[in-house]
Point group: C2
Chain length 144, copies 2
């Protein structure tokens, strides 16, 4: 299993807007060119990032712009915005444990809390990572 590429694409998109917004007009076609996917995938992503307050999108020629300082945008914000992990949680619980079995009847209750702990540990780590750091590394790597 893997977390959807929507997450890494979203990180790429935000980094790209941060890197280019003062130099040129950033459109979905331009972003798609950098990421290497169809522009429609970008256009499906942008409203999610806009609704999360990370960037603004204009249908005119002005393009995409950041609305928040990237030191205030974490991996967790992006992960929530693009909804990589749905309500069912990170772990996919098998559907029908047998209620007539003492273990089948209780396994859900006995594991759910622990699975949530694991998911929360992952999310807490995501909260410590900012997009500003990513863009800083992109800038640094381009200077070398």
């Amino acid at each position: 299993m893997q977390i959807t590429s929507r997450f890494t694409i979203a990180v790429h998109v935000i980094a790209c807007v941060g890197y280019f917004q003062d130099t040129r007009s950033v459109t979905s076609a331009f972003l798609a060119g950098s990421v290497g996917v169809n522009p429609v995938m970008i256009r499906n992503l942008l409203p999610l990032l806009r609704d999360a307050g990370i960037l603004s999108v204009s249908q005119g020629k002005s393009g995409v712009r950041l609305t928040r300082d990237l030191s205030d945008v974490t991996f967790y914000d992006v992960y929530r915005a693009v909804d990589c992990v749905d309500d069912r949680g990170l772990f996919h619980f098998h559907a029908q444990p047998n209620p007539a079995c003492p273990v089948g009847k209780t396994i859900h209750a006995a594991t759910d809390g622990r699975l949530s702990d694991v998911q929360r540990a992952m999310e807490n780590e995501m909260k410590t990572i900012t997009l500003a750091g990513v863009v800083a590394d992109v800038v640094r790597l381009n200077r070398q």
Copy 2:
């Protein structure tokens, strides 16, 4: 995205063996009945758990037995044993960032370490959770 149900099925299987092995012969058919899946799925799982040193499997009538104390078996051991996350890692990186773009060229290097940090945080939490705790909860819930 979600982590394969193989993981929660494996936890269920181990808990079941722990709960029943002193009472009755535990076979793949019995385990499949408790989990609610086809016996072949269980039979595909058992060799993985056996190779990880968690249990032993007999083709005769003696059934499946644990080979290690469950206080020494963690979620991480199970997760490694059933190979939920392959070499590519937890995050699915989009395949072709444009090398002609300063961001596309460097985004991989700028994010890989951070993505590994997130995955490692999840795995470290898994190392703190034992199957003994799960079985203890199953037993407790059946007494109530």
